[in-house]
């Protein structure tokens, strides 16, 4: 540790004003604060510093995502060997999943952090660590078969147009990871949905088997919701299977157990708002119950019962990790209930009644992101009016 500190101190003069590498000051600063807690203190006034700074908050979310990531790797391998019809141990499955997901993680972090670094250099600002979470969310919500260059293009688009143009970390209106996915979804629909996107049937970095080409062309592995949207509910896995998570789907979304572990970490550390999380599930359950109540053959998803609706697809993942994003969500307490509830309702509404979209969680969160400031504004105004009325009433009483 001391050697590292010495090394950093030795490098420091080069990056300061007038040094040879002064242009890269923000890179140095970013590295230094990443490695060491800054020991500078405020010089004026009284300040209370919370040890829970932005970096620690971000890292907490990344830690909370680890169960999902591990399950995603395990399930990617599981689905691969299942599709090939090859028996494989858990170790082999995990190794395959690791090799399949590693390139996506590298691309996502490489592109995103690259743009963040460049933007910080241009603006002479410190590098913000906002991308740490986004970079791990992207591999978890992008289907495993998406070509890497598409992921790179989408990540670049999202970081530039959903984040940097609004002023960088903490200023974005829309969830950056979801914008990445939405970009892919609308730009390359054939690669992003349907029955070829979610199960990897060729080898990953040379590991694992591969189906022969004609078998790949004929292969079909839709997600349970992909079946449901066509009105076929015979392929819906049992509640236990979709709870544990060995079903086809985007890598991070399949396992309810892993998501719940993440939720516990987020709630225990107080990083995410329990109001949002709870109300998303409440809204989803309410809408699912309503849809199930007026069940119809035309809409496949309306034939699913409430727990199945909540366990399938990306609903739970969106509720725990996307809706609770403190930057893009509502900030007032009442607002958080409204915001979350509407996300839940709209997600299930889209999934059930729009046959174009088998899953609606992504669109629901993005839509409500746009409305979050409005909700907050209304909540604040209502409060202002209420207090004005109270003040007026008190004044009148004094007069009498």
């Amino acid at each position: 540790m001391k050697a590292l500190r010495k090394f950093m101190d030795k490098l420091k003069p080069h990056f300061q004003e007038g040094g040879r590498l002064a242009k890269l000051q923000s890179v140095y600063d970013g590295m230094e604060t990443f490695l060491f807690t800054p020991n500078t203190t405020s010089r004026s006034g009284v300040h209370v510093h919370d040890s829970n700074d932005l970096k620690r908050t971000m890292i907490t979310v990344v830690v909370a995502l680890m169960p999902c990531l591990l399950m995603a790797m395990l399930n990617t391998g599981h689905q691969h060997f299942l599709a090939l019809g090859v028996a494989a141990g858990w170790g082999e499955k995990f190794l395959f999943g690791l090799l399949a997901m590693l390139p996506v993680i590298v691309v996502s972090y490489g592109v995103g952090l690259g743009i963040e670094f460049i933007a910080a250099q241009i603006h002479h600002k410190e590098i913000q660590e906002g991308f740490l979470v986004t970079g791990i969310l992207i591999p978890l919500i992008v289907p495993i078969n998406t070509p890497l260059w598409m992921t790179a293009v989408a990540t670049a688009f999202a970081v530039i147009f959903a984040k940097e143009v609004f002023g960088g970390t903490g200023m974005n209106i829309f969830n950056v990871a979801l914008v990445t996915r939405a970009f892919l979804f609308f730009a390359y629909p054939s690669e992003m949905s349907g029955d070829k996107a979610f199960i990897k049937v060729d080898s990953a970095l040379g590991y694992g088997g591969s189906l022969p080409q004609n078998a790949i062309d004929a292969f079909s592995g839709p997600t349970p919701l992909g079946h449901v949207v066509t009105g076929d509910i015979t392929h819906v896995p049992s509640l236990w299977d979709s709870f544990v998570g060995f079903i086809p789907g985007s890598p991070g979304e399949t396992s309810m157990i892993a998501i719940l572990i993440g939720a516990v970490i987020l709630l225990f550390t107080g990083v995410a708002s329990w109001r949002v999380m709870l109300s998303v599930f409440a809204g989803g359950a309410a809408m699912a119950a309503l849809a199930h109540g007026c069940m119809s053959e035309t809409y496949g998803a309306s034939m699913l019962d409430v727990p199945t609706q909540l366990c399938l697809g990306g609903f739970a993942f969106a509720a725990v990790f996307m809706a609770t994003d403190p930057v893009t969500g509502a900030r007032t307490k009442t607002g958080q209930y409204i915001y979350g509830f509407l996300i839940g309702v709209i997600a299930i509404l889209i999934r059930t009644y729009n046959s174009g979209y088998p899953e609606g969680a992504m669109l629901a969160v993005l839509l409500m992101n746009a409305f979050a400031p409005l909700i907050d504004h209304c909540v604040v105004q209502v409060n202002v009016k209420r207090r004005l009325r109270r003040a007026r009433a008190a004044k009148n009483e004094v007069k009498v």
Binding site: W149, M150, F161, F186, A187, Y188, P189, S190
Partner: protein, 209 residues
Amino acid sequence: MLSKRNKEVLFNPLSNDNPVLVQILGICSALAVTVKLEPAIVMGLSVIVVLSFSNVIISLMRKTIPTSIRIIVQLVVVAALVIMVQQFLQAFSYDVSKQLSVFVGLIITNCILMGRLEAFALNNKPWPSFLDGVGNGLGYMIVLVIIAFFRELLGSGTLFGLTVIPNWCYEHGYMNNGLMILPPMALITAACIIWVHRSRNKDLQEKSN
């Protein structure tokens, strides 16, 4: 003919006072007709014709139009010209007029037209008004063509309907970007052009508070 002021009237709208990039007018049609280059160019030409001639006509009548009904008079003039252009297109290039569908008709409601008639033609002589119309129409067309170039290239892999992205790209996994064909990307492309334009013209940048 082309005094210093007239030159400004003609050339300013191309960049420094561009109707789309600086005045942010005519955005709706910029979204609608820029999926392909060909309709974008035809649309641009139509706007140039309608705008320059309506500018001249309104300028000729500027002293006789009662202020209280000037908008109606302007609309009548523009509508008459637009219908002439529409008939012309239907007669001589039916395919493009079908692609443009209602958008030629909607030139009547294009903000650029009302804006120029109100702001310029009502207070100026016919010749400068004509130049103003041509200049603004050209400024509009340039932006349309740039947007349409990127949207057609990235969205369909073609330019003027001819395939320009070589086949081996597709064989190696390249795909056309379906989002470029949807309206949102027209807005984002326009935003990018404004971004580049502002960073080159520092005097147009808004002061940050």
